[in-house]
Point group: C3
Chain length 138, copies 3
């Protein structure tokens, strides 16, 4: 069974879509199986992260924006793929560091997420985007 | 077919559980398939790493503890999610960098691991924990 | 259905093998399913990355070679697993940061890749290698 989730983003940062995924899994009628998510872009990532304190999401963004500064930053002067903007090549690098696909077991019709785990799309570009996440459940 | 592995940790560092996974796969009777592991926490990771020289595990820990120092370190003063301890937000960051899920083909009843590959849980918190890893085999 | 892809590398850098994977998926006759790739080594990675501008691949290599310098570099003097060469422990570290397994939905016999996504093996060792990638399709 397959589906596409379409996730609107508002520039760099995390967007949770756990509820949408859970609803689709429940609707599928599948009791035990495996859900796989795959993001169809090279400038954003999928994350499983803590969904309790929103500051975790801000800190994640703060860390990765320091680890991989914009290509306009002096420390990144060695980058060559810069014509799509100073946020573009850093976005590809973050998309190499963080997951493009995630697999989560399904049990009795529910995702086997831990108590504090949520599913996020991490947008790495400055501009808002509509992101496609392909889902497979079997 | 599903299972939960419960992995005791002794604070930060890698714990190998390849043998437990191999035993469960063998017991399942499944000859050809796909094993997926999913860690149900946001402050530890799953890794496939070299199982020959234990210094590899120590070096991995040494690298990541420098890449993401405790939030009490001056270079991390921008972090805001600090009330669960100086090791907590760095643990979430490392859990974003390293895998939360892994999928390994199964052939003739065995994991298709390379010669030097072992399966590890990487604990990112200072305190010992009992970690749950959900497994799916089909 | 399983297969092994054997990917020749020429030392550090990315090697695309999207076409080989697509051909195998097409030959399988499977219309809807999930493809999983698993690299059977601890010193290279699998990546989904932009396949339009080759400079993206060079910039990815440039970033990660700065993030994880050779163990002969003064900043890496704390590393202990050095007897297999200055590129060996950094290769293990990069193999912890970037994916060892990837899962991609298959639709109407095609990989559900986005427009600009290609499948790459990222070699982290200096010497050329022949790398094995195990594939599972169901």
């Amino acid at each position: 069974m397959q589906h596409d989730f379409s996730i609107p983003t508002r520039g760099q940062g995390l967007v949770e879509f756990t509820r949408e995924v859970q609803a689709w899994v429940a609707d599928s009628g599948i009791q035990d199986g495996l859900l796989t998510l795959f993001v169809r872009h090279t400038s954003c990532s999928l994350l499983i992260q803590e969904n309790a304190d929103p500051e975790v999401q801000e800190d994640l963004w703060a860390f990765f924006s320091r680890l991989v500064p914009p290509s306009s930053h002096p420390s990144m002067a060695y980058l060559r793929h810069t014509y799509e903007g100073p946020d573009d090549m850093p976005a590809h690098i973050k998309a190499a560091i963080m997951p493009v696909s995630l697999s989560i077991p399904v049990r009795r019709g529910n995702l086997a997420l831990g108590t504090w785990q949520g599913i996020y799309l991490f947008e790495h570009r400055d501009a808002p985007h509509q992101r496609q996440v392909a889902a497979h459940l079997a």
